[in-house]
């Protein structure tokens, strides 16, 4: 995970250097449009979340240490909730730390982008962690399922015109960013905007919040009933 983040920081640093074909200093809007939105929100954030959340229970299963949690007197839903809280804290630290690194590498221009992106990142992280932890409680090889979801559903479906992309977390994160990041000119324009058909920021916030809560409740239900081998 740290290697991926380091690579992303290096790419951002190289991107920010003056070049013969782009001698002007980079702007905050360019940073947001060309680096943070596609590289971070589109790829790194789901990967960071799945790295920690999908391993939270699956690793205990494969490591055969889950038995110690299942035979304590702590109710299973509470065990799951503790796992969610721990995974969320860890992932938020990594996700926000990574976002801060990317935004601050080019200098002061990143502060504006950071201000716009961090609340969306935090909410999207809560939803991703809820979803990937649910996978972790559900199947043994949760990392593969999470990776397949991140690449197939979030990336592919998230970019297909039409209604289907509304099942992805990234759709609501982008919709929120299009509205809150107006000054960074994040929103798609013209036909692209009509094809994307974003929801309002308020709706996106509600959906992300409800999705997070829904994933947690569903995960608690699965974890409290499942017989782990």
């Amino acid at each position: 995970m740290l290697v991926l983040l380091g690579l992303a920081v290096l790419i951002t640093y190289l991107w920010s250097l003056p070049k013969p074909w782009h001698p002007d200093p980079r702007t905050s809007a360019e940073l947001a449009r060309e680096i943070v939105l596609p590289l971070y929100m589109g790829f790194l954030l789901p990967v960071i979340c799945l790295g920690y959340a999908s391993a939270a229970i699956a690793d205990e299963r494969t490591g055969e240490t889950l038995v110690y949690l299942l035979t304590t007197n702590i109710p299973r839903p509470l065990v799951y909730l503790s796992k969610y809280a721990a995974a969320l804290i860890l992932t938020l630290g990594m996700a926000l730390g990574g976002l801060g690194s990317l935004c601050l590498v080019p200098g002061k221009i990143g502060l504006e982008a950071l201000g716009v992106f961090w609340p969306v990142t935090a909410c999207a992280t809560a939803a991703y962690v809820g979803l990937f932890l649910l996978f972790s409680a559900w199947v043994r090889r949760a990392t593969f399922l999470s990776l397949a979801y991140a690449l197939m559903i979030e990336t592919l479906t998230g970019n297909i015109p039409g209604f289907v992309k509304r099942i992805t977390v990234s759709f609501y994160a982008k919709s929120w960013l299009y509205e809150s990041g107006e000054m960074l000119e994040l929103a798609a324009k013209g036909v692209a905007l009509s094809l994307f058909d974003p929801v309002s920021a308020a709706t996106a916030q509600w959906v992300l919040g409800l999705a997070s809560a829904g994933f947690i409740v569903l995960g608690m239900w699965i974890f409290s009933r499942k017989e782990y081998d």
Partner: protein, 318 residues
């Protein structure tokens, strides 16, 4: 087959439990009770021992029937207050030291601060790991891991200890020390359920034996009583007396005696059927014939012998 010589207060009660994993039936209509003292759970691989232990510790639910631990459903968190599990696998949080691991377990059981430390030190003392408790668990030998796992199982002072092959990999001296510990815990009124495939361990250790095979409980109770109930299986008895050559032919007239051989000038080896009847017939014979018996010993009442016979019966076609 069940044999209980004394009234037992059941800490765990398994009522007609069956368990399927898909099409595979792991347990088939098992009913038993586990009370204080040491109970040995014996059976070959795939017999259903681990399934039974997992059911008792609330890791899985029965497909049919029910399991109560101290009056509560085994799946419920309250039942787990009464059970300490020492699992078979060595896996644990290896990066922690033994002391940290036991304290973490105390935390998982709801003990914090000074109470967690007090309990951790007490169980480290009990399992004999105080002097090695600061080393990382990954550096521990198999026997030390078993001890620290036992410490984890004891941290909340449970009424019932479930030990899955606890002597596996432990050296003979360590085995004896752990057996002493199990006896001490049993003497305190705890139920200690020990699963083992090393059958002769059970001869000296267990007060009661549960034999399982192919998902069924073949027999339960004190070993000697189970052996006595096996009326169609020959039992070998060695008798030392003054005049074996005179007594031998007399003993052959008893209905329960199948064969008599003279082992040494003073020893007879009898093969008898239906031990209970033989004991009664022999007492009558010895009293009426002035047999001058100096020693009387059944030679194959070991767990292994009983287990072999039960297995033979289990696989025999009806």
């Amino acid at each position: 087959m069940s044999s209980e010589s004394t009234t037992m207060t059941a800490l765990a009660e398994v009522r007609n439990v069956s368990k399927w994993f898909g099409p595979v039936m792991a347990l088939n209509g098992v009913s038993l009770e586990i009370g204080s003292g040491i109970t040995g759970l014996v059976g070959p691989n795939g017999a259903g021992k681990t399934t039974l232990l997992r059911l008792l510790t609330g890791q899985i639910k029965p497909s049919l029937g029910g399991i109560d631990v101290c009056g509560r459903d085994a799946w419920s968190p309250r039942a787990k207050d009464h059970i300490g599990l020492c699992p078979f696998g060595d896996a644990t949080w290896d990066e922690l030291s033994g002391r940290q691991l036991v304290r973490v377990t105390a935390g998982l059981r709801g003990f914090t601060g000074a109470e967690a430390r007090r309990r951790a030190e007490a169980v480290l003392e009990t399992v004999g790991m105080v002097d090695r408790a600061n080393r990382p668990v990954r550096t521990y030998s198999k026997g030390m891991r078993q001890r620290i796992k036992l410490g984890q199982a004891l941290i909340h002072d449970p009424d019932m200890l479930v030990l899955d092959e606890p002597l596996n990999g432990v050296d003979p001296v360590g085995c004896e020390e752990l057996n002493d510990l199990f006896r001490t815990l049993a003497a305190q009124g705890k139920a200690v359920l020990v699963s083992s495939h090393i059958l002769h361990e059970m001869d000296q250790l267990a007060d009661r034996i549960l034999f399982v095979c192919r998902g069924k409980l073949l027999a339960s109770g004190p070993l000697e009583e189970i052996r006595d109930m096996l009326d169609d299986h020959p039992l070998k008895v060695r008798i030392s007396c003054e005049s074996p050559r005179w007594i031998g032919p007399q003993l052959l007239t008893l209905e329960s005696v199948k064969s008599v051989s003279i082992e040494t000038p003073r020893d007879l080896l009898l093969e008898v059927q239906n031990p209970s009847r033989f004991y009664a017939e022999f007492c009558e014979f010895a009293a009426g014939n002035d047999a001058q018996v100096q020693r009387f010993k059944a030679t194959d009442t070991s767990t292994e012998a009983v287990f072999d016979y039960l297995m033979e019966r289990a696989v025999r076609p009806e």
